[in-house]
Subunit: 331 residues, 4 copies
């Protein structure tokens, strides 16, 4: 196993992480968390769903909360550049034995749904209903002032296979963690939009959605949102951080919503779009080493949202998630 070559002529043009769809048990509680605490903008809502976007987003939603009986993830969304790319995508997936279906979604342009090579439910669209960009509508800014979706992280039983699948679709590997002395990536950060991540794969029972990440504009807002969380009774929803990442380099805080879905708030990423940007390798021992924050608790590594209807599979080799040491097969 090893790192594939980048595919600079992908079968269709994926541009970025777009949105995720989550099932929540109590929309009012979720609204208190996402809107009153975090500061998402409500694009639309009714008794069955809330559509949220960040203040810098002109697309209708980057997070959809649907009323459901269990705290499940429904799917993650990726943006293609054009309608033509959607057609090419359908052709590509069908040919690859991954049946893709057109599935109209509210407030989105034509939408194609497919499960990836490990079963993770994806959907692709090229357009969405447009909403005002509220980046300088300061009277709408609140909480952490989330700007826009940045990336997803999934736990999967076979990181190498996802790596190959997404790199064949044109994703580039920005960073990866490998066991010391090995070139086998066990934690991979993949991107399309020119910063380090659009989708990240970490080892674990899956596919499950580990988190969706949203950017915030100022580091003081980490304190603002944590302080507000404590004031509003959400202190225990702060799971990990504030702290500083190794891979990606950003400041971060991870929070769990009232259903246990995890989001990451993080600040700005570096630019990563040149042909000479080679994947950055991190030794697992180094990546696990303490930056300055206390280490993540075990549950940060093991807990994630199940996808509706997808039974997680265990990795063939399990390891210590804190060190990633045994996830890779001997080869």
């Amino acid at each position: 196993m090893s790192i594939p070559k980048p595919n600079y002529s992908p079968p269709f043009n994926i541009t970025r992480a777009s949105h995720s769809v989550l099932h929540v048990k109590d929309l009012a509680k979720s609204r208190a968390f996402y809107v009153d605490l975090i500061g998402f903008i409500v694009s639309d809502e009714d008794k069955d769903a809330i559509y949220l976007r960040g203040v810098a987003e002109a697309s209708h939603h980057s997070l959809v909360l649907k009323r459901g009986s269990a705290p499940l993830a429904e799917r993650v969304g990726l943006r293609c550049f054009s309608e033509e790319d959607l057609e090419k995508a359908k052709f590509h997936f069908d040919k690859a034995g991954l049946p893709a279906r057109w599935a109209p979604q509210p407030h989105q342009g034509r939408t194609l749904q497919v499960n990836d090579v490990l079963g993770a439910p994806l959907e692709f669209c090229a357009t969405m209903e447009r909403k005002p960009r509220l980046v300088v509508s300061f009277d709408h800014h609140h909480g952490a002032v989330p700007q826009r979706i940045d990336h997803f992280q999934l736990l999967v039983p076979d990181v190498q296979r996802e790596l190959e699948f997404y790199m064949a679709l044109g994703f580039r590997l920005s960073e990866y963690i490998a066991p010391d002395g090995s070139e086998d990536p066990v934690f991979v950060f993949l991107q399309r939009k020119g910063n380090p991540h659009d989708i990240v794969f970490a080892p674990g029972a899956g596919p499950r959605l580990h988190h969706a990440a949203f950017s915030i504009p100022e580091s003081t807002l980490f304190f603002t949102v944590c302080d507000l969380a404590a004031t509003m009774g959400f202190a225990d929803n702060i799971e990990f951080g504030p702290g500083r990442h190794g891979p990606g380099h950003a400041l971060f805080v991870y929070m769990r919503d009232p259903d246990g879905h995890r989001i990451e708030l993080f600040n700005t990423h570096y630019q990563c779009m040149d042909i000479d940007d080679e994947p950055v390798r991190w030794d697992a021992s180094y990546a696990a080493r303490r930056n300055w924050q206390l280490p993540a608790r075990e549950r940060w590594y093991s807990e994630a949202s199940r996808f509706a209807g997808i039974e997680p599979r265990e990795p063939s080799r399990k390891g210590n998630p804190m060190t990633l040491e045994r996830y890779v097969a001997a080869n």
Copy 2:
């Protein structure tokens, strides 16, 4: 005159603003400004030149200062994705009657130089020597902690012609200012990399380089760098700001270096890469209206760095730069 259609199949792939090359009379004074005050990282220097990069850049340089007898701009650099794109670029420009020449440059991969349709000297490369990305090497952070180059602004006598030229090359128009009641853009913001600007054209005698802009990660750093400027004797080099932009929405400060070259420091931009991101129109009267900072002084509109060997031409119609009201021809 009007706004051209985007060209989604450009003749070659330009990815981003890359670097600018400036002539300065005293390298030591320029070093004090760019390194000791602003916080640029020195990638290389000798008695004739200093090569600078931001802390988040892995490319060798985004700003080159050459010892010269006059404070001139030599050229601005754009990045193409691949070597093949450079070949396509040469073919394209030659065919268009704009002679392009290969011109080896230190620390850059193969480099193609050409003058744009109004004579602005450009160069294109796909690769540069790689240097360590110092984004988390906090012991190297200083001053405003410049992250990376973001865009250039040029004054030109015919904005419409530049708009057409660059949109034909695949640039997309993110925002523009037009006189009230008109659709004629007189101030245009063009991008390739997925945020609002890579190159900006404003009306005036030109082509001249108005400024190169570099991103900074925190708004407190506007105060840090202004305070440090005053302490170091550079208070008068602060020309405009800190303030808040209309188009682009960022916080900014403009500074003049010891030779009068202008740089902009600004914070984060929104994402702008979807096919349904339409150009945002600003009425000239609205864009000229006060945000909260005091208005720019006249010299911010009229002064810019001449390009070496390029005689500026006056616009056929001059106007009030504060309002942009007459720059557009009656048509």
Copy 3:
């Protein structure tokens, strides 16, 4: 004329600047400015008055807005330590030929009113009704998140006389501006509470209230409040700054309320309470010199709120307020 010796055994114990009382023509407009924009907490309000405090204040009010027919200042309030100090104050002022009267005020303990040596209307109290300190009630934080009152500035026709009056009451001179080559203070910063200012006197027709100043906790909030001001239609109320002070050293912004009353928002001050803290002298030429912000406009020097019923007197010698050069008499 010169600087008096400090009086370490004052006739009674004044502890700090306490509050100011302003007349405003439209309470709703003032509320929009002070509460919806700046972020003051409403302690009480009715159809005739609004009582405001900062989030870190447990005293009932530091700013009282009364409905009035003209935009006047009613008086400024100082805190004494104990009821006994109020008694001593009455005795002291009466003996000094400045008649002091007990004047009950809503939400305040026993209150003594007196006009200072130049006629400025003061009031003293030792206690106020207590309200919850909201310093960590983050759900009540908004706008600039004003913490607490810090100081007042008055324009007066005879700075020297005020200096002598207040130093006899135990105020200490922290900083002062004097014309170059002179020891005659023309701009004086006086304190009781252990940081640089409680009351400041500058030369001009007066006594008039130049501004009341409130501290804010983070420099990013200067941008927050300016941005919010622009969004809410208050851009023109930003008069001067954000910028960096010479004397006092703080970052600041001055704003005019809907009636033209001026407030200053500034960040933290240094500690100034040791017996060996000598007054810091600034040459007028130096203090007038540009820090990094653009200089204040002339109106910042000349405009101020009249006190109700007090006719301003012109200084015997007028000068250029930008340089303070002639305000001092030859002697």
Copy 4:
């Protein structure tokens, strides 16, 4: 046991926490920590000692590091207002059976040393050699940009006795923690200078110095100093935080120096100087409850610097330091 009445006519006038004196084994290592990482200003140094101050301090030192064979605290310093207060202090302590001795100290005015009622070694001075206040000398700012000393915390075997001792000296109780349902303070915050703390007593074997605390001006600097610590190899010296305090309300981070001495960096405190500022009571169960940061590790409660020559005594009743539940005697 209970809370004493404030003494508004103390035997002499203590104004504030002044300085601490620590023994360190390797001055070069300590210098790397305090100067190169934290950003203290060196007022003087030789082969045996380093004298440090914060950037907003005009007094010669607030932290003295002496070369020693063991990591001990030598003493903590308090400032009196005048020389006359020192004389009164000597008279007071001698009369109280606590022998006080004049002990000349470098760079300090006349200095009086005494051990408090539980043996904690104190010294008092009214003046110090003056140094430039570097609050706006931004070219000297580095790391966390420590402004000034704020307070000390000591672990002591009998908090009640210290409370009575210091309140008799004029200290006022700003906040305290008591077991639920009890009025017996087990964790007390005492102040003279008008903000919540000058000296704090917590239960434990002692007297030992738990930490000295220094203020920093911006919350972003918590990230700056933690990031720099990690870059410089001091990640493991970050013991607790960044986080938000209950009592005192500040943001904080605790760090251990190379000898294990603990310092706190925290941001601004509220004003606390009015006669109607009553002590704020916290239930132990509430104070121990999670704010938003992870709880302190046990060592934060139990580890502290021994004072040279002072054998710590155990509290007569020990308790769980995380809850403080049993420290108080049944009475």
